[in-house]
């Protein structure tokens, strides 16, 4: 009698586990990403920087928002504006879910990029963009954390210089988990598609 009872209990438990798993899988289906899936391969969103309003911010301040992190600098007249413009067009195409998305533009040129310059710069592209600045060490640590790289090029003679930098765009979900990686040449359709999925993950029904 006793073993049969425990066998039935075990059976019920297994069914329960199976049910939990099924419902769990329904809650979190494996999305059909079009961009490069980096889930589990890059660390969570975490930094201590200063935003374009001069306020100290951390990665945790962006919990609840899908974030798109991009390293660049304001004296970059071509590739950075191209990328920020592309993200602006993508967010406009995304529509209302874009309210839950923030572009994090991290300066790799702390010497020239003040919060005020960053504020004017990011807002010229998109109101959902946040400019982030920090010390050389802070920015270097953040870039290293995401295996990003940047190099200050030699002075052109008049104090002007360029900064070569990784062109990747890092996508984090609303919990701050690294999910996707895109290059500036990624198609806008793919970015819009994946942002629809990313903004609906864990969204309340």
């Amino acid at each position: 009698m006793k073993p049969s009872f425990s066998r039935r209990a075990l059976g019920a438990l297994l069914i329960l586990i199976a049910l939990v798993c099924v419902s769990g899988c329904q809650h979190e289906p494996q999305p059909a990403w079009r961009l490069t899936d980096v889930s589990g391969h890059l660390p969570d969103l975490d930094f201590r920087l200063t935003d374009d309003n001069g306020k100290a911010v951390t990665g945790a301040d962006f919990k609840g928002k899908v974030t798109l992190m991009y390293f660049g600098y304001t004296h970059c007249p071509d590739v950075c504006p191209l990328t920020l413009t592309q993200l602006h067009v993508v967010l406009d195409r995304l529509g209302p879910p874009a309210d839950n998305v923030r572009i994090l533009f991290v300066s790799v040129d702390p010497k020239r990029d003040t919060p005020a310059i960053m504020h004017a710069y990011v807002n010229a592209f998109d109101k959902r963009a946040v400019g982030l600045v920090g010390s050389d060490a802070d920015v270097e640590a953040l870039a290293k954390r995401y295996r990003s790289a940047f190099t200050r090029e030699p002075d052109r003679g008049d104090g002007a210089y360029d900064v070569s930098h990784s062109s990747a765009i890092y996508f984090f979900d609303a919990q701050g988990k690294a999910r996707l990686l895109a290059t500036p040449s990624a198609s806008q359709d793919d970015m819009v598609h994946d942002l629809h999925l990313l903004t609906s993950l864990g969204a309340q029904p």
């Binding site: 660049g72 304001t74 004296h75 970059c76 007249p77 071509d78 590739v79 950075c80 504006p81 191209l82 920020l84 413009t85 602006h88 067009v89 310059i117 004017a120 710069y121 010229a124 592209f125 998109d126 790289a149 090029e153 052109r156 008049d158 002007a160 360029d162 070569s164 930098h165 990784s166 062109s167 990747a168 290059t183 500036p184 040449s185």
Partner: protein
């Protein structure tokens, strides 16, 4: 004799008119991206070499900016970088566009505030000694091209 000189003069004259009317390179759809403050702006334009020999763009200048340089961006190997370009060859009867993420003219040190809607003349120096003035329409920072 008089007739022949006249014909020669006429030929020379038409030749001169022809040269003035038909430049070797045509430019269209010039626009530049206005960035806040006095940040450098990228300028974009489409060139068409209508001659049957290669003509190169060897320089740029604008009365409205302290400095203008021809640059090329690349994102090879995942790194975004810029390089100065001394000469951009336009193949015979060929077209080449300066466009975001590739060739562009970098305009630095605006001598007066430039705002969206303004028209700026950038003069390109060509390898055949010609000067090619091109009108660039100033566009907002997040513009995607010369028109919406």
């Amino acid at each position: 004799m008089i007739f022949r000189s006249l014909v020669a003069a006429m030929l020379l004259f038409t030749g001169a008119v022809h040269a003035a009317d038909a430049p070797t390179v045509k430019a269209s759809d010039g626009w530049l991206r206005v960035l806040p403050g006095n940040l450098p702006a990228g300028g974009y334009v489409s060139f068409e070499n209508v001659s049957d020999r290669t003509v190169s763009i060897v320089g740029a200048s604008s009365a409205d900016y302290a400095d203008a340089m021809v640059h090329r961006s690349s994102t090879d190997g995942g790194m975004g970088r810029m390089e100065m370009v001394d000469s951009v060859p336009l193949p015979p009867k060929g077209k080449l566009a300066f466009s975001p993420g590739g060739y562009h003219v970098m305009l630095m040190g605006a001598k007066h505030p430039v705002k969206a809607g303004d028209k700026i003349v950038v003069t390109f120096a060509l390898s055949d000694g010609e000067k090619l003035p091109v009108t660039f329409l100033a566009r907002p920072a997040n513009a995607t091209g010369p028109t919406d």
